[in-house]
Each structure stands twice: as C-alpha cells, then as structure tokens.
Amino acid sequence: MIKEGNSGLIDDLGEDYDMLLKVMIVGDAGVGKTALLHRFKSNAYNEKYSSTVGVDFFFKTIHSGGKKIKLQIWDTAGQERFRTITQSYFRSANGIIIAFDITRKESFLNVPLWLEDIKKYAGKNVVLLLVGTKTDLDDLRSVELSDVRAFAAHHNIFDVIETSAKTDCNVEDAFYKMAFELKRIHGDNNPTINRSQSNILLPSEEKSKSSCCGI
C-alpha cells in the first residue's frame, strides 16, 4: 500500500521515494522479456530457456536529478504465449516496453499486434519504448535498426534501443530511458499517487481479523 509520508512517499517496506511508476513489458513469447527483467533486477542471466513461471512484478529504485524513482516492473506471466494477456495488465501501465528479438523477424512483425492491444486497453498517456533483444547474436540479425526506428517514428513510440541480457548490453539504459521519459512527461506529478484518492487498494496482507466492527 502506498502512503503519503511527511516528506515524499513511503512504501510498505518503509522505503521512501519521489515517484512510483508502473512499467509493463510485452512482446512475443521467447524474445527474452524475462531475461531482460532478470538482468535489470538482479544483474543475472540464465542461459536455459523456459517460459515465464513465477514472475509477477518487482521493484527497482533509480535516481535521477535528485529524485528517487521507484519502478514497479511487471512481467506477462507467460500469458503472451497464446495472446491471452488480461486487459487489466495494460490498464494501470505508465510505460510499456515492447520487446522483440532482432534475430526473429516475426517477433518484430508482430509488434503492431501488441500495439493494438495497448491501444485498446492502456491509458492515453502511456509511454512506449521498443526494445530489440539478443544483440549478442548479431550474426543472426534479421531486423535492421533503421527499419525499427522508422516503424517507431510512425507509431508514437518515443525511442528504440537494442539490448542483450546475456552480455548485459544496454539493459539498464533501456529502463533508464523509460524512467526519464516518464519523469519528463509527468514532471513532478506522480501519476500513481495522483489517481483518485477515493480508490481503494486492499491491504497486501491482513494482520488482524479481530478489529472491531461497525455497530
């Protein structure tokens, strides 16, 4: 639960920050979304392929211009595999990373399908970043960066970056790009906090059932 402290904001772990931003990742199965997140989160890489299991979301706090920006980064939970991502996944996103594999042209050609879902379900101000993965396999490249840039320019995607989770190339940069753009757009207004205050988040864990009741 998010509480407003005297200075800045304090999350349920008692950690303070200035801005909380929700970033979701989408893209075809197998492009390396989880690997990208895992690299950013723990600076680790796992060679073995498995479809996503057990990854819900994680937090990572970054610093920019004296501000602490807390990113809440959500994975697809494998629901991209048969294009069954729930609508609610998109709804609360401040930023969405659309990932594709530079060695698999099809995963790039499917980006418009993800844009369609984003258009349907995400909010109006959502910031989109297109991320190419697996640059360590440059020999097998089948998507040219210039094509990606041209595509991005036509689809209101603010930037493009190519990454490799394996060699740790540009991974952090990708998330920083997203965070800076969100900060630039939202200025000092924290979009997550500015949502209607009458909205209720249930407590993440109930410590007591014995608190007194109404009458």
């Binding site: 990854v55 101000n125 949502r195």
Partner: protein
C-alpha cells in the same frame, strides 16, 4: 495452437468464470499443472464486462445463437473401452434479450460529416464530448494512437491539434487519464451538472465505446466477506482497485431515500422517529453478536425472518430496512439466514468506507482476470478462443482421462473442471433452473438517480410492489471507470421470475424517464438513452458424470460472493483434500526463476509464506483507513446504546 501445448496436465479447467479462475489459481499455487481454456476471446464467460461496441457484438451473437439439436451426449470409441463426452457450443446462457434505444439515432447516417464539420457547432460544454470523440476516433484509426492526444502535446504538436488546444481549459481530466486527482473529478462533475442541454446521441455512445466497462454480472464485495479476505490472503488484491459504495438507497413511499448505515447516520436521519432509532440500534447491536444470545432467536430459527422481526415489535419501515437494505435478503428467508446476512453487513461497515460494500474499478469482470493472472504467474497455461470438442471417458474406471482438442490432439489430465454450459444440452435440464438464473437490465442514462456533488457508487435495494421478490440496483459513473463523464450505468438484477423485462419493468418505470417531457416530474428522473434486458441462465446437470469432472454453474444468483468462494474452495479440496486453499504467495521479489522445476518452485515458496497463525495477531494493518471512519462507525459499540 494445441501443437504447442504440453500433452499432460493435472487439471484442465474449461470456462474462465470466477469460481473456475479462483480454483485454477489455487491449484497452480501449490504446483499443479493447469490448462485453463475458454471458447470466447475474452475472460470471464458470463462474468465478462464489455466496452460498448463489444457489448453490442455480444448481444448480436447471443441473439443469433440457436440452441442445437439434442444429440446423444456420448459416442463410443471403437476398439477401446473409452467413450467421448461431446461438449456443446450452443447451450443458451442468455435468453429473452431485448435492446431499446431512446436517444437520437439519426447522426449515425451523417457520421462522415460529423468528424469534420461537427466540431464547429459544439458549444463550450460540449467540447469535452468532442474531445473524447477524437480520442475514440484515434483508437479506431490504424496508427498513431497518441499523436492527437491533447495531453501529449508538449511532446509533439501538429497543426490538427488546434481543436485540442482550444478546449484545454474545459476538458475533463478524467477523459484523458484514468489517474486524475479527486479534486479534478469534482470540478468536472460540476461542469456536467451545469450542462443542461447536452443530448447524447446513439452515435456518441458508439464513439465513446472505449470508456464503457459494462458488466454482465455485477456484484458487490462485502468488506469483510470471504472474497475480500481471499483477495488479501492470496495477494490477488494488488491487481485490482476498488471504490467503496457511497450510498445505499431504497424506496420509502415512492421516494428514493438513503439507508442510514452508521450510528451517526441512524441518528441524523429524518426517516424514523427517535423511538424507532433506538429500536433499530438495539436490534442491530444484537445482530452483531446474535450467536451469543441463542435464547433470543432459538424459537424462530427456522421460521421466516420477517416473523422474527415482528416479534421485536419493529415498525413496518424498520422491518423493511432490515430485511431489504441491511440483510438484503428475500422476504422468505429463515431467521438464522437473515441474522447471518445482517451480521455480515454490520461487520463489514467502516472497514474501507461508509458502506459495507466494495466495487472494483472497471467492474467485477476484473476479478476472474486477476485470479487468472495469479494462476499464470504460477505456471497455468491460458488459451482463449479454444473450443474443446470432447472429453475422454474411460469406461472401466468411469473417469475422465483427458480432452480432445479441436485439432484432434489428446491432452490428458487427472481432473476436469467445467462450466456446465459447455456440457451437451442432452445432459442439462430442459428448462432453466430459476434458482440459478437471474433477470438483468442495463441502462445508460444521462443523470444520476440520486444526484449529489460527488462521484457516487450507489446501491439500491427495492422490493417488488407485491414484496414477493427483491430487485438490486447499482448505479456507477465515470469515477469507477465504467462509463464516460456525464453518463451513468445502472444495473438491475433479480432472481428470474418470468422474463427479464417483465420482472424489472415496474422498478424501471419508477426510476427512469424514457421519453422527453413525460409527466410533470419527467425531467427530474434520469433519461434512459439505451438499455438492454436479458436473462442469464443456469441449468441443472441431469446425469451423474464421472467423479473427476467437476461442474460449475455459469453464473451465481446471489448478490454476495459467498457461494462462489465456497464453490471454488470445495472444488479445490475435492482435488487436493489436504492442502491449504491459496496460501499467501511470497513477495514477487522472492520468487526465483527456476528453469528446472517450476512446479517445485511454487510449492516451496508456498510453504515459506504460510499464512496460518496470523489471525490472532493484534497488529492492525488497516488502522489508517479505519481511523477516518472512527467518528461515524467504529464507535458504534453495543454498550453505548
């Protein structure tokens, strides 16, 4: 699609309604392999919510669906001792569908003119309409979803954003971003109240399609009900946001009045005399801990609740309040049921707000999706748009051993959970089971039934005029992300009596105005712009199925989620008799991506994060929220009476 699927699962779940979703999540949570499928391209089945265009499409489809011939439900596999149970796609779950449109349909013909010249004739109040229309138009165009979005104009400004600039000052923040502050909302509501002349046309509704989220099966969560506890315990709560219902209304005479929900509201209301107030508080104080005073109700336990209330010498009005607005039960329930329902209401007061009910932003349809996400996080595989032609039944053991996909592939499993409307019609009762079926109406109106200064979520509970059944209504507005600014969605629900329109007509007529200037208070009532009536149908399964096929009714006719959660828990324990039901998952940060044994992963983390033993803990996490309500509700102790 099926080619990519594993060929073996522990449980295959067919249908993504809420109990199926909860059960599926519970199963993967302890490491079961689950395949969860739905024939539709959306989650939830009869629990879905739709944008306006999708609702129209759903209506069209439901209208055109004809129930098929009753074919023999089984075919024998030659050479084996197996037979196949043939599933169906044409069991009618929606009946008596009617659609009525009372707003101007003409502009539809002039659609092309409108997008070019139409803007010029808008007055100031209408600009926000135009605004959202442009947004909607953008959605439909194939590219640049944001390029004309006024709120991103600091990013790039194009000449055709001229109009957007003009409306900068009057546009509603709600329309551009779901994350606007409450103060802004109040401001824009003011603008809407001031607007008198704005007439929405049918085309407006269609253009604003994206801003609707219209539930087929709206229900409210009791703040201390089993679903809220489950959402908290399972941490599924973090996928959903809620609004507290702000007002509960009922009829007194022919006037809508606000039901007092807290001690201070009881004392300030002018609906009852001082004596009545004391009587009411005395009774409610008893309700809170009725179990402790068995002597006071024992004699009436299995007799009608209304008789019991008479024994307390409560006035007619108070009896009505207690039965219809606090216990919210049908008149014929037993005393013990009525007391339990009233107690649940009272216990839920003051936890998150002024009333005991919560409504999810975007609607109840978020809930099955949220549990499906938890299921997916723990490895459940999801396939929408997937029809399952048949189940394989082994005749020797009389057990279901798997399914055959539409591509002819066999996928084996130990258990099947299935929405009963997927079963062949020959196995279902010919007639709907009225206890499992409801009458529904959805109205899009131009005004609140109880206009106030703020954004409201209003529950109303109205007995039919002969008091034979109870009609529940819910009005939601833009603040709940259910519809565009300036419009309201009203849901009516009751147990199915004959057909939806007849069952609800009387209340509908008293609440709304359908034609212009009808009658002398015609203009005081909200005007219906568009509405639909339908019945959501449940059938009985006539024949005994193999014991490892568990069936779920497509809908649930109760207002609460009690039986839904109980059903899910029951199915779960049928499959996993000795396991805890959705143990609290570990923090997402603690979940390790384990390539080799994802199943094991789920199990291990589950044990670490065991939840038992926390119940008696005195630390109260919710204090922050409850403090706000202390003055009105928490101080309502029996001994203060």
């Amino acid at each position: 699609m099926a080619d990519d699927l594993p060929t073996e699962f522990d449980v295959i779940v067919i249908g993504t309604g809420l109990s199926e979703a909860i059960t599926a999540a519970a199963l993967t949570r302890i490491g079961k392999k689950v395949l969860h499928v739905d024939k539709n391209d959306y989650y939830g089945g009869q629990w879905a919510a739709f944008t306006f265009d999708k609702l129209l499409a759903w209506i069209e489809k439901a209208r055109n669906l004809k129930s098929g011939e009753k074919l023999p439900p089984y075919i024998q596999d030659t050479d084996t001792n197996q037979k196949r149970l043939l599933l169906s796609n044409d069991v009618l779950t929606t009946l008596n569908l009617e659609v009525e449109c009372y707003c101007d349909k003409a502009p539809e013909i002039m659609k092309d003119d409108r997008s070019t010249d139409g803007d010029e004739i808008y007055n100031i109040e209408e600009i926000e309409m135009a605004q959202s229309q442009r947004d909607a138009d953008n959605d439909e165009s194939s590219e640049s979803p944001q390029s004309q979005d006024p709120s991103s104009e600091d990013v790039e400004k194009t000449p055709n954003q001229h109009d957007a600039d003009k409306s900068e000052n009057s546009k509603s923040p709600q329309l551009q971003a779901p994350s606007s502050g409450v103060a802004d909302q109040v401001g824009s509501n003011q603008a809407i109240r001031d607007r008198t002349a704005k007439e929405f046309t049918y085309q407006d509704l269609k253009d604003l399609w994206r801003r609707f989220s219209i539930d087929l099966l709206p229900k409210l969560l009791l703040c201390r009900g089993p679903l809220v506890e489950l959402l908290i315990k399972s941490k599924v709560a973090r996928y959903v946001e809620f609004k507290c219902v702000t007002k509960i209304l009922t009829y007194r005479g022919n006037r809508l009045v606000q039901v007092p929900c807290s001690r201070s509201e009881v004392f300030s209301t002018n609906l009852m005399s001082m004596l009545e107030k004391r009587m009411l508080m005395k009774f409610l104080s008893f309700c809170i801990e009725y179990e402790k005073h068995e002597d006071k109700f024992k004699e009436y336990e299995q007799r009608p609740f209304s008789d019991y209330l008479k024994s307390w010498r409560l006035s007619e009005d108070l009896q009505h309040f207690i039965i219809h607005c606090i216990a919210m039960v049908e008149k014929n329930v037993t005393t013990i049921e009525g007391l339990a329902a009233a107690q649940c209401f009272l216990q839920s007061l003051g936890r998150f707000g002024e009333t005991p009910f919560l409504w999810p932003l975007y609607g109840v349809a978020e809930l099955p999706q949220a549990f499906c996400r938890l299921c997916a996080v723990f490895g459940g595989i999801y396939c929408l748009r997937m029809t399952v032609p048949s189940l394989i039944i082994d005749e020797t053991s009389n057990r279901c051993t798997g399914i055959i996909t539409d591509e002819g592939q066999k996928i084996s499993c130990s258990n099947v959970i299935i929405d009963s409307s997927y079963l062949p019609s020959a196995l279902l009762s010919d007639e709907p089971d009225k206890e499992k079926s409801i009458s529904r109406a959805i109205f899009i109106t131009n005004k609140s039934i109880y206009p106030t200064e703020t954004d409201e979520v209003i529950l109303f509970s109205l007995p039919s005029s002969d008091l034979s059944y109870l009609i529940r209504g819910l009005e939601i507005s833009a603040g709940s992300m259910a519809c565009p600014e300036g419009l309201y969605i009203v849901h009516l629900t009751c147990l199915m009596k004959s057909n939806a329109k007849d069952d609800l007509q009387e209340v509908t007529d008293s609440l709304f105005n359908f034609e212009e200037n009808s009658g002398k208070d015609g203009n005081k009532k909200p005007k219906v712009l568009w509405c639909t009536y339908f019945n959501q149908i449940g059938y009985n399964v006539k024949e005994r199925l193999p014991s490892n096929i568990l069936t779920v009714d497509p809908i649930d006719s109760e207002m609460s989620f009690k039986s839904i959660v109980a059903k899910a828990e029951n199915m779960y324990h049928n499959i996993c008799p000795n396991e805890e039901f959705i143990p609290s998952p570990p923090d997402p940060e603690d979940i390790i991506i384990d390539d080799t044994s994802p199943q094991k992963n789920g199990k291990e983390t589950g044990e670490n994060a065991g939840f038992s033993g926390c119940e008696e803990n005195e630390e109260i996490r919710m204090e922050d929220n409850e403090d706000e309500n202390t003055s009105t509700t928490s101080s309502l102790k029996p001994n203060e009476m």
